[in-house]
């Protein structure tokens, strides 16, 4: 699938924004000012971007605990996201959700999720709603290799086929569920091998290659939108940081991340490809780098300056009516 220059720049901007967001959080977390559990997506950006580039306002995504990249790629406001992670009243969820519960239903982002395997059933529901309401929308669930074993996920794969849902299931296999290797926890060779068990296509793509993801994602979205049929895609990817911030990562091989960063970085590979093909100039990407950096800097400053939620907020938003 040939991307326009605008699309290429957009893809790069998404990935770079995510990267800046996550790298900065890594630094900020160390200062002790960010509360709670924070799971960074750095290294996996091509996945969020490659899929979400195919989605529009009709479409929904269900995410997981590692949801910042998905949110940004689906168009959530970066300032509001940052404020949310700091627990401020200006946050996307008014400071009540935090990193693990970032959501913006108005943007079709159904929520990060603190429960491994919590999202895919919800995505089935969004796909069902799109189908019944005839919106033409699709739903996409992002989840990890660890989640791919969870019963809720496999049930969702079955349901999507039984109900012919316009749904895409994306396993982001970053090699680990916390400290446990996917080689241990996933009993088949590739997580995508499970697709056959649910009579849907299963696709494996290189998670460092934005173009491969974009291509596979395009076909899956087409299949969902036109044929109302589901697809399972496994993205072989890597995370640059620990499971959560604070993870000493002693379970990882020596230099594993160093080598990945040097040789398999999705942003570097993207840049090399588009510049060597003369589609985009280095300077254009550098400009985006600068803008992304500024955006995140501004978001952090504003988040830190924002107020915490009013005390009265403790008791609101439990019910719509009581």
């Amino acid at each position: 699938m040939q991307l326009s220059k605008d699309d290429l720049l957009r893809a790069y901007r998404i990935m770079k924004t995510v990267r800046e967001f996550e790298e900065r959080l890594h630094v900020e977390f160390a200062t002790g000012e960010i509360p709670g559990f924070v799971h960074l997506y750095a290294g996996e950006e091509a996945s969020a971007a490659g899929f979400c580039m195919h989605l529009d306002g009709r479409d929904k995504i269900a995410s997981n605990h590692r949801g910042h990249g998905h949110s940004i790629a689906k168009g959530c406001d970066v300032h509001a996201m940052m404020a949310e992670i700091y627990g401020r009243e200006t946050g996307l969820c008014a400071g009540k959700g935090g990193s693990m519960h970032i959501a913006d239903l108005s943007m079709g982002m159904m929520g990060a999720n603190g429960i491994v395997g919590g999202g895919p059933p919800l995505a089935c529901g969004a796909a069902l709603a799109a189908k019944k309401l005839g919106t033409g929308g699709v739903a996409l669930a992002f989840f990890g290799d660890g989640a791919s074993n969870q019963g809720t996920v496999m049930e969702s794969l079955n349901l999507a086929t039984v109900w012919n849902l316009p749904c895409i299931f994306v396993v982001e296999n970053n090699g680990y569920a916390e400290a446990t290797s996917s080689k241990y926890s996933v009993s088949c060779d590739d997580a995508a091998d499970r697709a056959g068990a649910f009579n849907m296509p299963g696709v494996v793509v290189d998670g460092h290659d934005f173009f491969a993801i974009h291509e596979a994602g395009g076909e899956a979205v087409r299949r969902a939108r036109e044929d109302s049929a589901p697809t399972l895609i496994e993205v072989k990817t890597n995370r640059y940081y620990g499971h959560f911030e604070g993870d000493a990562q002693t379970y990882r091989g020596k230099d594993e991340v160093k080598n990945l960063r040097a040789n398999r970085d999705c942003l570097d590979l993207f840049r090399a490809r588009v510049t060597s093909a003369d589609l985009v100039e280095d300077a254009e990407l550098d400009a985006i780098d600068g803008e992304a950096g500024d955006l995140i800097e501004d978001a952090v400053i504003k988040a830190k300056a924002a107020s915490r939620p009013a005390a009265s907020e403790l008791l609101t938003d439990v019910y719509i009516s009581y």
Binding site: A94, P121, L122, E155, I320, S321
Partner: protein, 336 residues
């Protein structure tokens, strides 16, 4: 309202009327139609007791059979509710919550709060509960106290055909997640039910019998046991007020307190296990908020802290009955 129908028909009618009124209402669950993929009749079952039978014939694929995957389809109902539908999912027996509770208590219940007030999740989970059908330990539990414990869920426990219809319509129109408890022994109960659609508001208990000596707070099937006991007691000159909670979350604390302020005595009758139950919840409320009105210790009449037994004689002993309730009322009256 001269027309009499059963509790089961009332549930069915509420579903049918709401589906007819609102295209976004859909029904899903195991065999809610029945016969999907099979050679015989479609719409064969309507659930194991036939409660939803006929809906498929009337509304076609807005009534969806599901595989036996409660996490997936209840989660799908929840997800669909955030995306424009008003799904009514059937959890066949509430005892099966253990395979899908996450989608109810961590997802549906918490979206609105976690997302800073921006989510609406108008999903209804209908479910069957209670003892009495010799269905043993895994098909006879109440469990409504577990759902009541969870902020963000609304919990509805109709005791009559009239309430079943009005509360179910309210549940479907309500914009919060609702779990709707149907007692399996009440399905055949007949009662007056208006033909037209109507709603009964949540959080308003029903004083089904007025009295001056003792307040009996109860719910679901036990409302009928309370009336049986109250009838018997009235011939002994003891006047019982019966408060049917109708919904345990929200719970109508005002009506409970007011009644106890009038009678000065409270017995709580609850079919479920005693620990951390509705019985203890109501007792605690009153011991905090209406203590000074109390003329006697509160008494709880509940099932024992044991699983539901299979043998018919044991199950009959298990279920709280009018005799036990009468005894408790006499005790608080100082007449035992």
């Amino acid at each position: 309202m001269a027309r009499k129908i059963t509790y089961q028909q009332a549930v069915n009618e509420a579903l049918a009327q709401e589906m007819a009124r609102d295209e976004t209402v859909i029904v899903m669950g195991e065999d809610v139609a029945g016969g999907s993929g099979a050679d015989g009749e479609m719409d064969a079952w309507g659930g194991p007791l036939g409660i939803t039978k006929g809906l498929y014939s009337q509304f076609g694929d807005r009534v969806m059979d599901t595989p036996i995957t409660e996490s997936a389809f209840i989660g799908a109902a929840v997800g669909a509710a955030t995306a424009g539908l008003r799904p009514v999912a059937e959890l066949m027996f509430v005892d099966f919550m253990g395979v899908c509770f996450d989608q109810m208590f961590n997802q549906a219940a918490k979206f609105r709060y976690m997302f800073g007030g921006k989510a609406e999740t108008p999903v209804v989970v209908r479910t069957m509960y209670g003892a009495g059908l010799r269905a043993a330990a895994q098909h006879s539990q109440c469990l409504y106290s577990i759902f009541t414990h969870i902020p963000g869920l609304k919990v509805v426990t109709p005791s009559t055909p009239y309430d079943a219809k009005g509360l179910l319509i309210q549940s479907i129109r309500d914009n919060d997640p609702v779990i709707f408890f149907e007692h399996k022994t009440l399905y055949t109960l007949e009662g007056d039910v208006p033909e037209e659609a109507y709603t009964i508001p949540f959080g308003e208990a029903n004083v089904t019998r007025e009295g001056s000596d003792v307040t009996i707070v109860t719910l679901g099937r036990m409302v009928h046991v309370a009336h049986e006991a109250a009838d018997a007691l009235s011939s002994d000159g003891i006047s019982c007020e019966v408060v049917d909670l109708r919904t345990t979350s929200p719970m109508d604390t005002d009506t409970i307190i007011e009644s106890v302020e009038n009678t000065g005595r409270l017995v709580v009758l609850d079919e479920s296990h005693p620990r951390c139950s509705i019985a203890s919840d109501v007792s605690a409320l009153v011991s905090q908020e209406a203590f000074d009105s109390l003329k006697a210790p509160i008494r709880m009449v509940t099932a024992p802290h044991v699983p539901v037994p299979f043998a018919d004689n044991l199950e009959d002993l298990y279920i709280p009955d009018a005799a036990q309730l009468q005894q408790a009322v006499r005790t608080v009256m100082g007449k035992d």
